[in-house]
Amino acid sequence: MTDAPAPIALAAKSRGPWPLSLVVGGALTVVVVLTALIAFVWTPYDVEAVDIAAKLAAPSSTHPFGTDHFGRDVLSMIMVGAQNSLAVALVAVGIGAGIGVPLGLTAAARGGWVDELVMRGNDLIFAFPALLLAVMITAVMGPGAINAIIAIGLFNIPVFTRVARGAAMGLWTREYILAARTAGKSKALISVQHILPNLMSLLVVQAAIQFAVGIVAEAGLSYVGLGAQPPMPSWGRMLAEAQTMIGFAPWLAVMPGLAIFITVLGLSLTGDGLRDLFDPRVRRER
């Protein structure tokens, strides 16, 4: 008579080959992260060095990605821009998970009015379009990378709350949770010791997806001028500036566009791959 739901993302028991999406996505992500790290110690050119003589140079051996209208090296700007994008998205995911997961676990554990309060608060944030929310925050607090982080992070909270609450609710009916309760453990302790570890794989997958969403959101905010401010390079602003020159200097738009594309693709594939890896049901069907 067991009508129990299938286990939520149990660790894969049979160590088969890794999902292709994880291998490809992981490789792309590693390339992007390495690029950002290398930019801390070395870039081909100084990103703030203006060289009007070499302005709008097409990609060549001296400037592999070309130069912009101030003669700045596009490759260097993209490398440093990666730092900005990754940092904003990473911290925003951290904020979302750091606040959202405990909220979701609490809502699932307590139920009743606590659950109601948390979930209606969630709906409130969800109801605002993410970009509008960001515009509001930056309008009040002024543009800048920090405020972009807060805006994107805030948007991430309900996503993590929902995922954590939904999965935790399923786990609370399991017999091992009942057994832990007969061991006299408080709901908070059970949430930390039993629920959270069993949700981890699910949350890691969600984090990878939110990371990708965060990159796009950051680029969008920078594009409308609400993200990182000059002279700090950012992919979104590079795209915005390239707009008027796309006819005669297409590389200015193509290069940051590709950077965003590769990063988001890499992270999304990683998320999909991790889900396949963690979820034995998806694995079998592959």
Partner: protein
């Protein structure tokens, strides 16, 4: 001519043999009981008949249906056979039906697929078939959805789908296992009637020997993919020749030897007084919500060393009662005293002290452990109830000692739950319950999911622990056979109330409440059935 003829059917997946040279036949109008424990290959045999073996399985041998060779046939050819010549009913009535299709459409679907008739004609057939399986039009119109039906009614719909085209062969794979005993008895009766009326062959796959003894004409016993014994039901049950079948039968009727050590004069270890547990029903626009009383003014008590059974069908409130006793749910009224202390009123350290004395073993040997914890950590979880936590080394020493007590090697502590079999996991659950040295252990269907041989071992272990440690048990179960074998006293629960209680033997001998009588009559009783088989045989011989 036989309906089904299987010759030397072998099946392997990779290098693992699943079936080894199985030969079987079923005559028209005959019920063949196919019994065996989990992993014996009985379900795989039925899937092979339908050509539904896993994609990587290598199959050899011959399967003939109505004389027509179907082994090795193409999938397109087999699709015509499935549903038309062979019908199958699975165990789980909850998932066997499509929840978004009406029952009429689901039965009609099979008809339309094979007969190519119009929807209207197919629905007319569906109506007739549903009438035949005991779902009359006035109460069960074709427009009903599965969620509006009970488990037994859904199983009737599944049967209707299987017999809609009057197949020559019907396969019932544990089709009554998930049902309550009274419903099970009705469904078995229905299957017998259909076999008689249509003259089809029926393969009744089950682990329950008592069901086979009262239903089947012939019995085949499987073990590890081999057919170890086959013959007339009476012959099998009165004179089994193969040691495995003999062991199977012995385990099925196994009653552990228990030393009567009930301390009648001592104060009770568990006392429940006037317990009420209500659930709020659907909210009304005006006025108070309807309340559903799952547990209605229940009182009971258990003496030290006593083993008490609490039986009833699903939905009778026994699980809710158990949860209230374990303080997992708060009752609306009444008290639960564990060694004189009220668990419902206690909080904090006082509650922990009471919890040490009452522990629980759950049904599902797969769901009752956190898959990410080692066995040692799981068993040690209840140390949380102690005022002073033992040191890690001391905790481990006590865990290892406890694992040995329940018949597991101490090295088990470093492994994870999924590395153990169902019976071993139940031993781990018992070790976890025992680690704080409790006075009472509640067993929530604790042996229901186990094969008979494993069940016999666990019952022996429980009996042994009880006599050594003076433990009291509260067996909460729907399985009367188990209760009869291991309890001193019996409580029968129906619709939230205890309707009958008394010494187990006395209740079984002279049940006084009509519900108890109905329950006992519906419960397949192996000894009684074998006796009846023998009597019928003597009758015919004379």
């Amino acid at each position: 001519m036989s309906v089904l003829d299987i010759r030397d059917l072998s099946l392997s997946i990779g290098s693992t043999p699943i079936l080894k040279k199985v030969s079987l036949s079923v005559a028209p109008g005959e019920i063949l009981g196919l019994v065996g424990e989990s992993g014996s290959g009985k379900s795989m045999t039925s899937l092979a008949i339908l050509g539904l073996t896993p994609p990587r399985a290598a199959v050899t041998g011959e399967i003939r249906l109505n004389g027509q060779l179907i082994s090795g046939a193409t999938d397109a050819a087999l699709q015509k056979v499935r549903g038309r010549d062979v019908g199958i009913i699975f165990q789980e009535p909850m998932t066997a039906l499509n929840p978004v299709m009406t029952i009429g459409d689901q039965v009609a679907e099979t008809v339309r697929l094979h007969k190519g008739v119009s929807r209207k004609e197919a629905l007319a057939v569906a109506r007739a078939v549903l009438d035949r399986v005991g779902l009359p039009a006035e109460r069960f119109p074709l427009s009903r959805f599965p969620h509006e039906l009970s488990g037994g009614q859904r199983q009737r719909v599944a049967i209707a789908i299987a017999i809609a085209l009057t197949p020559r062969l019907l396969i019932a794979d544990e089709a009554t296992t998930a049902l309550d005993v009274t419903t099970q008895a009705q469904v078995l009766e229905l299957l017998k009637r259909l076999v008689r009326e249509d003259g089809m062959g029926l393969i009744l796959i089950t682990h329950d020997l008592a069901v086979v003894a009262e239903t089947a004409d012939r019995v085949a016993v499987m073990k590890d993919g081999e057919l170890v014994e086959e013959g007339d039901t009476r012959r099998i049950f009165t004179g089994m020749t193969h040691p495995y079948s003999q062991r199977l039968l012995a385990n099925a009727v196994h009653a552990p030897t228990r030393k009567a050590a009930v301390q009648h004069d001592a104060p009770p270890v568990l006392q429940v007084e006037g317990l009420v547990r209500e659930y709020a029903g659907a909210r009304r626009l005006f006025g108070k919500a309807d309340a559903f009383r799952a547990v209605d003014d229940v009182s009971l008590s258990i003496q030290p060393g006593e083993s008490v059974g609490l039986v009833g069908e699903s939905g009778c409130g026994k699980s809710t009662l158990l949860r209230a006793i374990l303080a997992l749910e708060t009752p609306q009224a009444g008290r639960v005293l564990v060694r004189g202390r009220d668990i419902t009123a206690a909080r904090g350290a006082a509650l922990k002290a009471i919890r040490r004395d009452i522990q629980v073993v759950f049904q599902d040997p797969y769901g009752s452990f956190d898959p990410r914890w080692t066995v040692a950590r799981l068993v040690a979880e209840n140390f949380h109830l102690l005022d002073a936590q033992p040191s890690p080394a001391e905790a481990r020493r006590r865990v290892d000692q406890m694992l040995e007590q329940v018949g597991l090697p101490a090295s088990a502590g470093d492994k994870y739950p999924h590395e153990f079999s169902g019976g071993q996991r139940q031993r781990i659950a018992i070790a976890r319950a025992l680690i704080t040295d409790p006075a009472v252990i509640a067993l929530d269907e604790a042996v229901s999911a186990l094969d008979v041989s494993i069940r016999a071992q666990i019952l022996d272990l429980l009996a042994d622990l009880s006599s050594r440690l003076g433990l009291s048990y509260l067996f909460v179960t729907h399985d009367l056979t188990v209760v009869r074998a291991v309890t001193d006293r019996l409580l029968v629960m129906q619709a939230g109330k205890i309707v009958e209680q008394g010494q187990t033997a006395a209740v079984f001998a002279t049940p006084s409440h009509p519900y108890t009588q109905k329950l006992l009559a519906a419960t397949p009783d192996l000894a009684r059935n074998i006796g009846a088989l023998d009597a019928a045989h003597k009758e015919t011989v004379r």
